[in-house]
């Protein structure tokens, strides 16, 4: 694995039930690359939360996963409403998701905290009315 591998996905904002497909494909691809299973678990959970967020709040977006020897980087970009108060959004239990989303078992205010918990770094770039970009990194223990 000398060059970085890049997987790119369009996340469909209309279809809540298919959200998670990109994460499942990433999980399978990482497994084929022989990545450690706990690393795969962390990457796929963080990415799934990101996908769900893009579907709930932003009408979809683009997810890109770069894999090299040192690190797995997940970049999520959308043109949704942006995050007004990032500090609040990072608090467990804080959510602006609508009720119908809660009835499906989401909207518990755990999305961003889960993404932080499962990654080694999380950066959020968000402008209200323009969109949000999230960059997460998980370092590959096997290579270190």
């Amino acid at each position: 694995m000398s060059e970085a591998l890049v997987f790119r996905f369009d996340v469909d904002g209309e279809d809540f039930t298919s959200a998670g497909q990109a994460s499942v494909i990433v999980k399978r691809n990482l497994r084929q690359l022989g990545i450690d299973s706990e690393i795969i678990r962390r990457v796929s959970i963080a990415m799934y939360e990101g996908e769900i967020n893009m579907v709930i709040h932003a009408g979809g977006g683009v997810a890109e996963v770069r894999v090299d020897e040192e690190c797995i980087e997940i970049v999520l970009e959308d043109h949704g409403p942006g995050i007004k108060d990032i500090d609040k959004a990072m608090q467990e239990g804080y959510s602006t998701a609508p009720d119908e989303i809660r009835s499906l078992g989401f909207g518990a205010g755990m999305g961003l905290p889960n993404m932080k918990r499962h990654t080694d770094s999380l950066e959020i770039f968000s402008t209200v009315g323009v969109g949000t970009k999230i960059v997460m990194k998980v370092y590959n223990k096997v290579a270190s």
Partner: protein
């Protein structure tokens, strides 16, 4: 204990067991999917009353050994089909989530 062995015990029944040889190493109870993803550990048996298709994705991503639907909840056929395709074991019980946990605590000793 293997998932397929649990499905043989009274109070429990197999809905689909595409990977019945997986071991159960612990238990997690929850219906809020993000909580489950954040807290459940790989190889846990996950007890829930949620039965929508997102449960299958969460089970797959968090790598639990099986989903146990408590309170007699039965997922729709299309969800069972998805679980079978994705290698997610599904078990049913008429016990409550608490009753299921108590029973598992006895069995997994």
């Amino acid at each position: 204990m293997k998932v397929k062995e649990l499905a043989q015990i009274s109070d429990f029944g197999a809905i689909t067991l595409p990977e019945g040889d997986r071991d159960i190493e612990g238990v997690y109870i929850g219906d809020l999917l993000s909580w489950v993803m954040g807290r459940a550990r790989a190889d846990d048996a996950w007890i829930t009353i949620m039965s929508n298709v997102n449960v299958i994705a969460v089970a797959s991503l968090s790598d639990v050994s099986c989903v146990i639907f408590a309170e007699g909840v039965m997922p729709e056929d299309s969800i069972v089909e998805t679980a079978t395709k994705k290698g997610i074991n599904l078990i049913s019980t008429s016990l409550s989530a608490y009753g299921t946990a108590v029973r598992l605590s006895e069995i997994l000793k």
